[in-house]
Symmetry: C2
Subunit: 269 residues, 2 copies
């Protein structure tokens, strides 16, 4: 058997299985890659919110990364919940080091959960801006994260280029600003490197079961980059995958259910 | 969308993505279920062995389990690496409690990794025997774990019923004794509840990339039980799935590569 492309997520665990490394690993399998993971934190979480969180020590994050990078190697990395300033700095150092040289990095600058639970300490914002974002091939903030990181508030799609520029100023090569939180119309995202502008549009699905959307999009982007796609190709493929997953999102528990990572696999199982 | 059957793994994390909750979550997706996870420990691990391990506090294990059980509910549970006597007892208590009443439980009594690294403290063996195994609908020991738990050593397939009886004496409803470590011939497993005997045979694949085999089999068993299979049906389906995954196992790193959890999904991705 040929080895599939290897993709690493550096993120937190969602016990409910809809977001975090669970969403990432499922997405990576669904997109034909070998998913691996560096755990940064473990949450007790379900459809109603986050009931508890336990951070891993920086030493454990480094050791997991070294185990993966030194023996197996990676063809793309995605970061999600990093919890604290120390972990943000630790991960940024690893991504700036030789093990990740030439490897595309997708940074999902996770700030709060779908329920508004804090997944990143306020004291970590500066490390995200100055240490983590410069390592990113693509950063994938939603509009809340844009506001948190840059102060730029976006109320309509035509203001998204301004948000993109503010993020690009921190040093990522590309930014995918996600407009899904805008009030109406298509779900529109803007991908830009400061020169090219790609508007990614998808019909907005009337489905409240969207837990894990952000993780899934970033993981799909990383998986497609590991397959060798260009950034615009990978972003378009990731948007298509997550749109299908949202359309197939299902009820789970009493609150917000997850997107369906297996929507493309039906019939094969 | 209809909610798929919900399956929970209570196990450790393998950063390399081939075993542990990574193998379980991938298997659960491949078999059409919604996978969830309670992390008990985080390992830094690759194709060469286990380079580090960090246990979660018992309180974090309880909180994750409660988040999943109280809001989402489970239709099958699988346990893997539980690390310490305290965590074994914590998990056994949760599985004996009301949240898991009537829910099939697959106990994979993980003792050592494929490389011989210890994943369960010697002081935890008694808790596995007296607290965990009685909660099992099916226990899935390999021959090393049988020897560790019961003292019974098996050198040939005809001695497997004796091993099964010794495990059943601790109280699981069924036992699947895995003969994969026997020196030659077909890979033969014995499933029995003390009355019925089902011999599960599969051709032995000449493939050294078998990391995650045990996790994958137990997770597949749990997934099929969540779909409503009987134990013999689920064991046969799980054996078929893991046999295909071993046949498709691939090189990853310098040592033992993983089985391919996506072997049935090709063409759909």
């Amino acid at each position: 058997m040929q080895t599939p492309p290897r993709v690493l997520t550096v993120a937190g665990s969602d016990s409910g299985g809809g977001a975090g490394i669970q969403a990432d690993l499922k997405t990576m399998l669904a997109l034909g890659t070998h998913g691996m993971s560096v755990l940064t934190a473990v949450t007790a979480q379900n459809s109603l919110g986050v009931q508890g969180a336990w951070e891993l020590p920086a030493e454990a994050v480094r050791a997991q990364f070294r185990s993966v990078a030194d023996d197996i190697g990676v063809q793309a990395v995605k970061t999600g919940m990093l919890a604290s300033a120390e972990l943000v700095r630790t991960v940024a150092e690893l991504l700036a080091g030789p093990a990740a040289a030439g490897v595309p990095v997708v940074v999902d600058p996770v700030g709060v959960s779908k329920h508004g639970d804090t997944l990143l300490a306020a004291s970590a914002l500066d490390a995200v801006r100055t240490a983590l974002l410069p390592t990113a091939t693509v950063a994938t903030p939603n509009l809340d994260e844009v506001a948190q990181l840059t102060g730029v508030r976006v109320a309509a799609a035509e203001e998204m280029p301004k948000a993109a520029e503010a993020i690009l100023a921190f040093g990522p090569r590309w930014v995918l600003v996600k407009g899904g939180h805008l009030p109406a119309g298509d779900a529109v995202d803007l991908l830009t490197d400061g020169d090219a502008r790609h508007w990614l549009r998808a019909p907005r699905h009337d489905n409240r079961h969207t837990h894990g959307t952000g993780c899934t999009l970033a993981a799909a982007l990383a998986a497609r980059l590991a397959h060798g796609d260009t950034v615009p190709q990978a972003a378009a493929a990731a948007k298509e995958y997550v749109t299908g997953a949202i359309a197939a999102g299902f009820r789970l528990g009493a609150g917000i259910g997850p997107v369906d990572h297996g929507w493309r696999l039906r019939g094969a199982r």
